[in-house]
């Protein structure tokens, strides 16, 4: 039901029946990939990159932690954490708000945040959070059980037009006492704790009084409990984040307490990547995000700068092989294709070492990642040829054929998605084993409809997520034709494992379900994982200690300019 709506939503947006905002709301409510949504949204925007004055902040650099001038790549649509799915907003808010629970990439530990501790009832229907009693919002409101209740009430009230997804099966929040809140579900939803730690949407606790009285203000200068306070914000231009002097509730992960080290962060929006890089080179900024391969090489080689990388979670940059269309409906063809691709050429030649190869349907850092996937399909063109020979695909001129039909597949590449060159590498490597790959390009969002109709043999896809539930969106049979299962892949066993994954309360058992599913998916080869997504930033060499939350948004609590 939810899934059906995804396609309708994209179509409505295409046909102009919805505004950009409505689309974003619907899309995020349905849990569509953040980047997919944001790229659709930005595709609709025609605003020119603002060329802002080159204001300078001399002398003050030297005082204490100093001022960090940051070059951001995208304009936040709003700063209200419940009304956006844009990474641009998320990366700013990660330093302004705190979650109840923290979790970090590559670390399965759940760290206490605004909640000192929590209990989960054995049936998985009740989560009781014991809150800290020493926390205050930037506007002076205390954090208490009412904040938790208000945060969820606001999220589910349609009048508030929130855009982030409500956790499946959520019912209500009960105030047990002033600093104890109980979140009640009607049916178990296992990813809940991880999603609370995600640093996105309902992860962030809101100040009830301020938000109720000043709904607009939540989109401009929302007061959180985090280490930085938004003191100035101009849409499309800049934001100023001042240090919160009262902050004393950092998670243990940071290894210290007290206020942040930086005095201030100047958040400048510089949308054009070349301009962003030149502001770093000229010293106008000290840190920039979203660098491109050529910049990666030059910043990496220059000792005055450093490149900061953080692998992301979810599903890697993947090619989905259509299991219902000739010739990729033949599992031998899919196996041969999997062996024929040398991912190292993509990562090392095209991206110049900026990214790493991916091996399975999940990114390495995603909880429940099964390292066994790395055993599959190591680059071996001879093996690919042998598989095709055995399956009856014999060479006929440049390419293979069987029963008079040429081994020819169609790759419809998503435009402006960084896949043009990797697709050409794959085309060339397929040619080496006798597979004819035709490349065409189509733009978002119409390509989603094309992919769902199954006109392609190969489609490129990726997914942002913090939980292995991502596999459901890409490989469950209910997501065929109306979701993101662009491989049109059906395996009843995989379906069952992924359905159980939603309700299994025992974390270890739950991860085990996903581990089994990953192996089954590898065997059926509906996908060729190519490379892992990465957050890539460049900054002055002296900048220290940037950490990332589970959404891979940078956290500047411990950061210094190091001067």
């Amino acid at each position: 039901m939810i899934v059906r709506r995804r396609v309708e939503l994209v179509e409505d947006y295409q046909k102009g029946r919805m505004s950009r905002r409505q689309f974003a709301k619907g899309a995020i409510a349905l849990g569509m990939a953040g980047s997919v949504v944001s790229s659709i949204i930005t595709a609709g925007q025609t605003k020119a990159a603002p060329a802002r004055r080159a204001a300078s902040y001399p002398a003050r650099y030297q005082q204490s932690g100093g001022v960090l001038v940051f070059g951001a790549w995208q304009t936040p649509d709003t700063l209200d954490p419940q009304k956006t799915g844009l990474a641009a907003t998320g990366r700013l808010l990660a330093n302004v708000f705190d979650p109840l629970i923290w979790q970090f990439p590559g670390d399965d530990t759940l760290y206490p945040g605004l909640a000192k501790s929590w209990d989960v009832s054995p049936d998985g229907l009740e989560y009781t959070f014991h809150l800290r009693d020493d926390v205050a919002f930037h506007n002076g409101e205390p954090l208490n059980a009412e904040s938790v209740q208000y945060t969820f009430d606001r999220l589910v009230d349609p009048a508030n037009q929130t855009l982030v997804p409500v956790p499946l099966g959520y019912d209500h929040v009960e105030i047990v006492d002033d600093h104890t809140a109980k979140v009640v579900f009607t049916k178990p939803y296992a990813p809940f704790l991880t999603l609370l730690a995600r640093g996105y949407g309902f992860s962030y606790m809101l100040p009830p009084k301020f938000a109720a009285e000043n709904s607009e203000g939540m989109g401009l200068k929302p007061p959180g409990t985090g280490p930085f306070v938004i003191t100035d914000y101009a849409h499309g231009s800049h934001a100023t984040l001042e240090r919160n002097a009262d902050y004393n509730w950092a998670p243990e992960y940071f290894g210290r307490q007290g206020p942040a080290l930086l005095d201030r962060i100047e958040w400048r929006i510089i949308e054009e990547s070349g301009t962003r890089a030149s502001t770093l080179e000229s010293g106008e900024t000290q840190l920039i995000e979203e660098i491109v391969p050529a910049q990666y090489e030059s910043f990496k080689e220059n000792p005055a700068f450093q490149v900061i990388t953080q692998d992301t979670l979810g599903c890697p940059r993947t090619v989905h092989l259509n299991c219902t269309k000739f010739p990729t409906d033949d599992v031998a063809v899919r196996h041969a294709m999997s062996y024929a691709v040398d991912k190292r050429v993509v990562t090392d030649v095209i991206f110049r070492g900026m990214v790493e190869p991916a091996y399975g349907p999940l990114e390495k850092l995603t909880p429940g990642y099964n390292p066994a996937v790395e055993e599959y399909y190591a680059f071996d063109p001879e093996k690919a040829k042998q598989i095709l020979d055995e399956a009856g695909w014999t060479m006929n001129g440049d390419y293979r054929a069987k029963d008079g039909q040429e081994l020819k597949a169609l790759f419809i590449v998503t435009a402006k998605d960084n896949f043009d060159e990797p697709a050409q590498v794959i085309q060339s490597q397929f040619r080496d084993v006798g597979i004819n790959l035709e490349l065409t390009t189509e733009a978002q969002p119409t390509i989603f409809t094309t992919y769902n109709r199954g006109e392609q043999n190969l489609a490129n896809i990726f997914w942002w997520d913090v939980d292995p539930e991502a596999l459901f969106s890409l490989y469950h049979s209910s997501q065929i034709e109306q979701g993101f299962n662009w491989a049109h892949y059906t395996n009843p066993e995989v379906d069952k494992l992924l359905e159980q994954g939603f309700i299994e309360v025992d974390n270890e058992k739950r991860m085990d379900l996903y581990k089994q599913a990953q192996v089954l998916i590898m065997e059926d080869a509906p996908a060729i994982p190519v490379w892992g997504k990465r957050q890539l930033m460049a900054g002055k060499a002296s900048i220290t200690d940037i950490k990332f939350n589970l959404s891979v948004y940078p956290l500047y609590y411990n950061t210094t300019l190091g001067e």
């Binding site: 050529a294 050429v345 030649v349 095209i350 435009a415 060159e421 697709a423 050409q424 590498v425 085309q427 060339s428 040619r431 035709e438 490349l439 065409t440 390009t441």
Partner: protein, 301 residues
């Protein structure tokens, strides 16, 4: 048979026309020879066409073979024009890219010239409601910028160099139709047309035998200018991913692919760009020479 005899103009008229035409052609060639630009353009264009014809023999390497051990290498003895981001030989791609680029331009002009000429002849000679209708349709088409119109047609036909060139051809039709119609309007007022009509010649015969030869010169000129335009617009469409398809070499597409490497590999964009420029320039020079040679107002100089 009897029709043909009926339509024959008087003998003195025929001989005069033939002599006029022969000397006219000779004079045109004479005038063309004096134009150095036109000669240079003709020579370069001939070389480019020869290069396209003998491309498979001339190209030193397989143009689609990716060699990852030598990506983005500057021009050297091994790769005279350097290599691209996949280690492919730029020289071989430029040589083999001549084929689709030139073929496509020729196809576009053939479509535009034939369809446009027919429309122009029919509407110009017949006039009446057909003329009115066609002219309004052409007005509508002229309201769109050429590239936009071509984009719309490609969207319907689907991407691919052939479709792109059909689109370019169709988008050029109004220019021919308008120009031919204008020429026809002036030619048909001539006494010899009236004479042919009086002698009972059929419409198609008059159009084919008496009007078409007299409007041929401007069509030739427009076509030479159009070839350059078709190559450029074909390159633009390939640049947008709607023309030639990967991995086949095509100048416009290669230029588009090289865009991201401007700062570090100048040779990737320079050579396909140079090939496009040379073709457009040589065809333009030749076209300009032809125009001068055929323009009655310049004949006495």
């Amino acid at each position: 048979m009897s029709m043909a005899q009926q339509a024959q103009p008087p003998a003195w008229r025929i001989s005069l026309r033939t002599e006029e035409r022969q000397s006219e052609l000779a004079k045109t060639i004479q005038r063309l020879k004096k134009n150095k630009g036109a000669i240079a353009g003709g020579i370069v264009l001939t070389l480019l066409v020869l290069m396209a014809i003998f491309a498979p023999v001339l190209a030193p390497k397989d143009p689609v073979k990716q060699e990852y051990s030598r990506v983005l290498k500057p021009p050297s003895r091994d790769a005279p024009l350097g290599t691209d981001q996949f280690g492919r030989d730029v020289l071989s791609r430029v040589i083999l890219g001549a084929r689709p680029s030139l073929q496509a331009a020729a196809l576009a002009i053939l479509i535009a010239a034939s369809v446009g000429t027919v429309i122009g002849l029919v509407t110009g000679y017949l006039g009446g409601w057909i003329d009115l209708l066609m002219q309004r349709l052409i007005d509508i088409q002229l309201a769109f910028p050429g590239i936009l119109f071509a984009l719309a047609i490609v969207a319907v036909l689907g991407p691919g160099l052939r479709n792109a060139m059909i689109a370019v051809g169709i988008s050029l039709v109004p220019a021919y139709a308008r120009m031919v119609r204008g020429s026809v309007l002036s030619v048909r007022e001539n006494a010899y047309i009236e004479a042919a009509q009086v002698m009972g010649a059929g419409t198609s015969r008059i159009v084919a035998r008496h009007i078409l030869p007299n409007v041929l010169a401007p069509i030739v000129v427009l076509s030479t200018v159009g070839v350059a335009w078709a190559i450029l617009i074909g390159a633009s469409l390939s640049f947008l991913g709607l023309g030639a398809q990967l991995p086949d070499p095509e100048w416009g597409l290669d230029l588009a692919q090289a865009r991201d490497y401007l700062r570090e590999a100048w040779w990737m964009s320079t050579f396909p760009g140079l090939a496009i420029m040379l073709t457009a320039l040589s065809v333009n020079l030749l076209g300009e020479g032809l125009r001068d040679a055929l323009d009655p107002r310049l004949r006495n100089r």
